[in-house]
């Protein structure tokens, strides 16, 4: 087991320089989610224009895997419809199961595929995506 398999450069870049970190004043959908087993937490905000995610931002606390995953997710989801966002979350679940899936929206996401070999860390990677799912579901989609 090599640490480099998990902590790819692109992951650490998102951890160090998180995209879309912050809050929005605008009328946004807010989803708060905790990982009760480890204490990670995320607050995700989605600004919708009709069916389309116009802006996504997050705040939270967690490890490099959970925070980089949130950074990537918020980056990838911008400009997508709620259906597309939900489908992306499903694809992310497949990635965590070790299935070969692609993310044309943001190739960086594929760098998280190594998490699959670290079962204890899958929950870290999926936290932000579960928040996204809840956000979409709350819109009745």
């Amino acid at each position: 087991m090599q640490l480099d398999d998990l902590y790819r450069r692109v992951i650490m870049d998102h951890y160090k320089n998180p995209r879309n970190r912050g809050t929005m004043d605008e009328d946004a959908v807010t989803i708060n989610l905790n990982n009760p087993t480890c204490g990670d937490r995320i607050s995700l905000q989605l600004q919708l224009e009709g069916d389309v995610v116009k802006q996504a931002k997050f705040t939270g606390e967690g490890c490099s895997i959970s925070m980089s995953s949130a950074s990537m997710m918020t980056e990838a989801v911008k400009g997508r419809t709620l259906e597309e966002a939900y489908a992306m979350a499903d694809r992310f679940s497949s990635l965590m199961k070790g299935e070969p899936v692609e993310f044309e929206e943001l190739e960086d996401i594929e760098s998280l595929s190594g998490v699959n070999k670290f079962p204890a860390r899958i929950k870290c990677a999926t936290l932000a995506w579960n928040a996204l799912r809840k956000g979409v579901e709350a819109q009745g989609k």
């Binding site: 087991m1 090599q2 640490l3 998990l6 902590y7 450069r9 650490m12 951890y15 160090k16 087993t37 480890c38 204490g39 990670d40 937490r41 606390e61 967690g62 490890c63 490099s64 895997i65 670290f118 204890a120 860390r121 870290c124």
Partner: protein, 408 residues
């Protein structure tokens, strides 16, 4: 105390994890099991397995004798005046829940107080939150000193004439601090309150005498003291147990059952509804035999030496924060490395075969008090050595370098 000989008795320790010899530093979560405990459970299932307290046949008698013998062994181990004052439970959590749901309602009235501390494990916190909500009692906290210890002055201030129950952990699973239970008990008794002790982290590591402590309830877990998972015990003062209500009903706990009403067996059996944890109790008794053969005082001394060594060694690492007081602690060190999240620390250590815990350790209020979202924790037991500490320190330096490079 010959650690090499002790290590030989733990089959699990002799393996490689991720290509490195296993260094198990997570005994505060659960301890490993010596061969004698594994064999005792196996022997029971292979030769004596039967239900207890009902069989007329030979196996039934053997199982009953072994189960009740285990109760007597636990009683003797913690200084209980009689085996009847030991109730077998699933562990500390269910023991504390039994007190909070079976005993507390009979004494709590609206406006009464339950006193605990912010360092409590969720298992000694949420049952009291619930008991307070149900009765209208107030849940009060003894404040902590800056280093995480408890001052008796604060105990005096917090406990009042309205306090009915005081419940405190003997040893903190995060701070490693040993709390002054005997003194707190004295103060609680002076106000007429009942003293409950969460002994999950103390029982494995030091000699316990519930009569010397003078506490009213004492809860322990088998799996943290070389015993199997799924077995623990609650000690209680006889007069209190006799007035405590069962919270589970069914087989094994009844005296006479009628269509509309039933009566209970004597203590402790009225609190053990259903087929009890027979194999677990037998395994726990074997664990007690094992610990006593080595000697609790020897174990205590070994761990304190190891804790002091680890504290010194780890505090040399640049950018480490160690939580809890330096003195008066058991063999566990909770820490954080600057700029590296504890989960990442734990994964990095695991990649070198070193098992530590990362997270909130079931102590969310304490994490908030420490102003962190999570911490890493290395915890030691009788089978750990200074080499284990050296391996941890060396691996932490490499972890720092790896993440310093990756992030920097």
């Amino acid at each position: 105390m010959n650690i090499e000989e002790i290590r030989k008795q733990f089959p699990i320790l002799h393996q490689e994890v991720n290509g490195h010899p296993l260094v198990y530093l997570d005994s505060a979560a659960t301890s490993q099991k010596p061969r004698s405990v594994i064999e005792a459970v196996k022997r029971y299932y292979e030769y004596d397995n039967s239900n207890v307290h009902r069989g007329v046949h030979t196996l039934g008698s053997r199982a009953t004798d072994a189960y009740e013998g285990a109760r007597a062994r636990v009683a003797e181990f913690i200084g209980s005046p009689s085996p009847e004052q030991i109730i077998f439970t699933r562990g500390t959590t269910s023991a504390l829940n039994l007190v909070a749901s079976g005993y507390a309602p009979s004494v709590l009235e609206e406006g009464d107080e339950i006193v605990i501390t912010p360092m409590e494990h969720h298992s000694n916190l949420i049952p009291w939150q619930q008991a307070a909500k149900r009765s209208g009692a107030v849940l009060k906290y003894i404040p902590l000193q800056p280093d995480g210890s408890i001052s008796l002055e604060d105990v005096e201030k917090t406990i009042t004439d309205r306090t009915k129950i005081v419940s405190v952990m003997y040893v903190s699973n995060v701070l490693g601090v040993i709390n002054p239970i005997k003194e707190i008990t004295e103060i609680a008794h002076r106000s007429g309150a009942v003293m409950v002790v969460d002994g999950a982290q103390s029982t494995p590591h030091m000699k316990i005498d519930v009569q010397a402590l003078d506490c009213d309830f004492y809860a322990l877990s088998g799996h943290k003291m070389c015993g199997p998972t799924g077995i623990g015990a609650l000690y209680g003062r006889k007069s209190l147990l006799e007035n405590m209500e069962p919270i589970e009903f069914g087989g094994e706990m009844i005296d006479f059952v009628d269509l509309q009403d039933s009566t209970w067996k004597d203590i402790p059996w009225r609190f053990e509804a259903g087929t009890p944890i027979i194999a677990g109790a037998i395994g726990l008794a074997a664990a007690i035999d094992f610990l006593e053969e080595i000697g609790l005082d020897n174990i205590d001394r070994h761990e304190k030496e190891l804790a002091a060594y680890a504290y010194g060694k780890l505090s040399e690492i640049d950018g480490i924060t160690i939580y809890g007081p330096r003195e008066g602690r058991v063999g566990l060190i909770t820490f954080n490395l600057d700029d590296v999240h504890p989960h990442d620390v734990a994964t990095a250590l695991d990649s070198e075969g070193i098992a530590v815990r990362a997270g909130h350790h079931c102590c969310q209020p304490l994490m908030r008090w420490l102003d962190v979202s999570a911490t890493a924790r290395a915890s030691f037991y009788l089978y750990n050595t200074e080499q284990d500490v050296d391996a941890l320190a060396a691996s932490l330096l490499r972890t720092k370098e790896f993440f310093g490079h990756a992030i920097g």
